[in-house]
């Protein structure tokens, strides 16, 4: 009998991330009429696109058992760089931002792996550089992309069929990340490092390279997300990333990816991102008090993460 119960619990835990998304959709379609309308759904997709890329990249650091507290700062930095220089350089700026992402992420990775420091501390410190760049370039707050240059950013508001183009871009990135996660040597090593770094090292895997690659991937994704925010907001916003770090980490957790490392998937993270975006958007549509909104999101998050994280470790002492 207890076995049956345990089985059900296991099943529930396994698919909780999907159940939470459906639940959120159902609840809001009841309380906010029009929540399931095409316009509303398109809006959710549009809002979710950069966050999908950001959280998708961040997932890899969490697979290694680490965390990146500077992801939001990287977003701010690249958002500002994109917003300011896009007028001069055009869309090629995105490639430059990806390059910047490689540099920022790899720097974090090298410090963490080679000096054997906790990623928590490293990213908490390095984020100050990225924030510095963002604020020094935009000392007086946001800078708007000039009206006559708007044609450059126009492609982001285009819809292909009914799907916003940026959402399609995000899906493409998630697909690439999935392939990286499942079908590359680095992807597999990243999970192994998170599951048991010592055993992985003794199995002759270059764990430093695996750890650094996770940070590089995350850096690239953060930079891409930052560029996308500049396109989306049509401005350079130096504080855009401040709240994004935690939203991204929350999305990963909401997807059921283990914070201890070794387990998870970018597909799960994507569902987490969609859930969080749907909640935010639904509360907006209901006209919830913005001060209350964050509290409600916090409560929902604790509940969802609690249901998602399985009670692993109980059987650790006894084999």
């Amino acid at each position: 009998m207890t076995k049956k119960k345990a089985f059900k619990q296991e099943y529930l835990t396994k698919y909780m991330y999907l159940i939470s998304l459906v639940l959120v959709m159902v609840v809001f379609s009841i309380f906010a009429p029009g929540f399931l309308s095409l316009y509303s759904l398109q809006n959710i997709m549009f809002e979710a696109a950069p966050l999908l890329i950001l959280a998708g990249g961040l997932s890899f650091i969490i697979y290694t058992g680490g965390i990146d507290l500077g992801a939001g700062a990287m977003v701010s930095c690249t958002c500002v760089l994109t917003g300011i220089y896009i007028a001069k350089m055009g869309n090629i700026i995105v490639l430059l931002m990806i390059l910047a992402g490689v540099v920022m992420g790899t720097l974090n990775g090298v410090i963490t792996a080679k000096l054997k420091l906790p990623s928590f501390i490293v990213t908490l410190c390095t984020q100050n550089f990225w924030n510095y760049v963002a604020l020094i370039l935009c000392p007086n707050g946001s800078i708007i992309i000039p009206m006559n240059m708007r044609s450059i950013v126009k492609w982001t508001t285009v819809k292909i069929g009914v799907i916003p183009s940026t959402f399609l871009l995000a899906i493409l990135v998630i697909f690439l990340l999935y392939v990286f996660q499942q079908y590359t040597f680095y992807g597999k090593s990243i999970f192994a490092v998170g599951a048991n770094a010592n055993a992985t090292r003794l199995a002759g895997v270059n764990i430093d390279a695996a750890q650094i690659s996770a940070f590089t991937i995350s850096g690239v994704c953060s930079a891409l997300a930052g560029a996308l925010y500049a396109y989306k907001l049509k401005s350079a916003v130096p504080t855009i990333g401040t709240s994004l770090t935690l939203t991204a980490i929350a999305s990963v957790a909401l997807g059921g990816t283990s914070m201890a490392g070794g387990r998870g998937s970018v597909l799960r993270t994507s569902i987490g991102v969609l859930t969080i975006t749907a909640v935010t958007s639904g509360l907006d549509m209901m006209g919830a008090d913005p001060l209350w909104k964050n509290i409600i999101i916090g409560v929902i998050l604790i509940g969802a993460v609690c249901l998602n994280s399985d009670s692993q470790g109980r059987d650790l002492i006894i084999k």
């Binding site: 499942q182 040597f185 597999k188 090593s189 199995a203 002759g204 006894i318």
Partner: protein, 506 residues
């Protein structure tokens, strides 16, 4: 024997549709030491868990000192005078010895919420003295070696159960000797006899049949969840036990010696004047193609450290490791693997198994870079390779997707071996390859070792027992205090005796 302490009748255990334990009867009398043997997965641990209150039986009844007995938690069992020493260590590293022994029982020593560590240390000293141990009990457990931790764990359980049922306690020991040296084992056995002489009973689980024959009064043999034999130790010998355990009689060639290969003259690795300050000095030897080179020595003789250097886990202070005519310097195990050296580590759970990953990932982890084509892995191909190893190594599992930490010790070890073989490395360092592995799996692992050398690989072996080291090796090097004191050829039919080697070890 003394009065009947404990009786189990018709104990069984189901997990859903699978029965893991079936109709077990057991009687334990005061002052007895009982041996419990069986292959991994035979149900020994399940029975121990039921008796010690970790799990509930599905069928059957238990009687303790004439009264019906059942326990829902370990604590409850302790109150009845039944205590278990777990195979996996359960001490808290950052607490002191005394704090560990009296964990959850601090109340005795506290007044108004303040604990008198002094009093606790005095009592703890007495508790470990019962096992002939003398050390500073205010030391942190993490600073002690594994063997001492094991003794403290036993002292702790002994203290708990003797407190409530002195002279009538039952102590369950699940493979307590795996981490102990021969000398320590002798000491443990002496203490076990003392404990039993006070009227307590002990159930002793071990994979080492010679130990069971040495220490116990009576032996229960389990196979596939059922009791296949119950006999007094006096009339038993290794062959009988083996047959009852495995269900077939031993081949008489436990170490698969008929498949032992004669190494060629080709030197694959040459160690010259290698030293690690404080561990070993001026070690030189050649490893030949197809050779199993055994390193013998007591703990602290430097053999472990030599292994660590060869797999790239430790840097040598001086000396050379020459492969293909070039001096190699390994900064980490990755570089060692790239030069064709890979180890099977000693601590399976913490150093070998990547617990929450699948069998497939665990088997392939050392060879993923070699399987990558244009940056990508082929999912079908990797699965096929994993399936092939599962078949070849005889790994019992539901599928290649199963997590490795759901396997029994012997099966998990076969996965680690499959990893080493799949890696393509030509030199394998096996550090206690059969530690905590049952007899049946042992023979399969020995067979794998023979296959490795037959395929032209070379092996450096740190045997789990001296007997194993001699039986498997084609040559043995004996170490004492970091120096080579002897070298023995071990051709089939001309193996040196344990005595010859021990003389050089001490």
């Amino acid at each position: 024997m003394g009065e009947l302490l404990f009786e189990a009748k018709g104990i069984g255990k189901d997990y859903g549709a699978t029965t893991v334990l079936h109709d077990i009867d057991m009687k334990i009398s005061s002052g007895e030491i009982i041996g419990l043997i069986g292959e991994n997965g035979a149900g020994k641990s399940t029975l121990m868990k039921i008796i010690s209150g970790v799990e509930k039986q599905s069928f059957g009844t238990m009687t303790l000192r004439g009264k019906p007995y059942s326990a829902n938690t370990i604590l409850e069992a302790n109150h009845h005078g039944i205590g278990m020493v777990f195979q996996e260590q359960s001490l808290v590293g950052n607490l002191t010895v005394a704090q560990n022994i009296y964990l959850n029982r601090e109340k005795k020593y506290s007044t108004a919420g303040f604990v008198s560590w002094r009093k606790m240390n005095v009592d703890a000293k007495k508790a470990i003295a019962r096992l002939g141990l003398d050390l500073d009990t205010s030391k942190k457990v993490r600073d002690l070696d594994f063997a001492t931790r094991q003794m403290i764990e036993i002292a702790k359980v002994l203290d708990v159960v003797e407190e409530t049922a002195s002279g009538k306690a039952i102590i369950l020991l699940d493979e307590p000797t795996t981490v102990l040296s021969n000398e320590e084992i002798d000491k443990l056995f002496e203490n076990m006899r003392n404990v039993a002489a006070r009227g307590n009973a002990i159930i002793f689980i071990s994979h080492r049949l010679d130990e069971v024959l040495k220490i116990t009064d009576r032996i229960y043999v389990f196979k596939d969840g059922a009791e296949t034999a119950e006999m007094p130790t006096k009339g038993a010998d290794i062959n009988i036990l083996y047959e009852k355990m495995v269900g077939r009689s031993t081949t008489g060639e436990f170490y698969v010696e008929h498949k032992q290969t004669v190494p060629t003259d080709e030197v694959v690795m040459s160690v010259k004047d290698l030293s690690v300050f404080g561990s070993f000095n001026h070690i030189s030897f050649d490893l030949h193609k197809g050779e199993v080179l055994g390193l013998c020595g007591v703990e602290g003789s430097g053999k472990e450290s030599i292994c660590a250097v060869l797999v790239g886990d430790e840097a040598p202070t001086s000396g050379e490791i020459v492969i293909n005519g070039k001096n190699q310097n390994f900064a980490n195990p990755y570089q060692a693997r790239k030069k064709g050296i890979l180890g099977v580590p000693k601590e399976r759970r913490s150093e070998g198994m990547i617990g929450i990953l699948s069998l497939e990932d665990n088997i392939l982890i050392s060879h993923l870079d070699g399987l990558t084509k244009r940056g990508l892995l082929n999912g079908k191909k990797t699965r096929a390779i994993a399936d092939e190893w599962i078949k070849k190594a005889g790994i019992k599992c539901t599928s290649a997707e199963e997590r490795i930490n759901q396997l029994s010790g012997g099966n998990a070890q076969k996965v680690i071996f499959a990893r080493a073989l799949e890696s393509g490395c030509r030199i394998l360092i096996l550090n206690h390859p059969t530690r905590g592995v049952d007899v049946g799996s042992k023979e399969e692992i020995y067979s794998l070792v023979r296959d490795m050398t037959a395929a032209g690989n070379s092996i450096i072996l740190l045997g789990d027992t001296l007997d194993e080291c001699i039986g498997l090796s084609s040559r043995c090097i004996v170490l004492r205090d970091g120096l080579i004191t002897g070298s023995f050829e071990c051709q089939v039919g001309n193996k040196p005796s344990q005595k010859n080697i021990v003389e050089k070890m001490m």
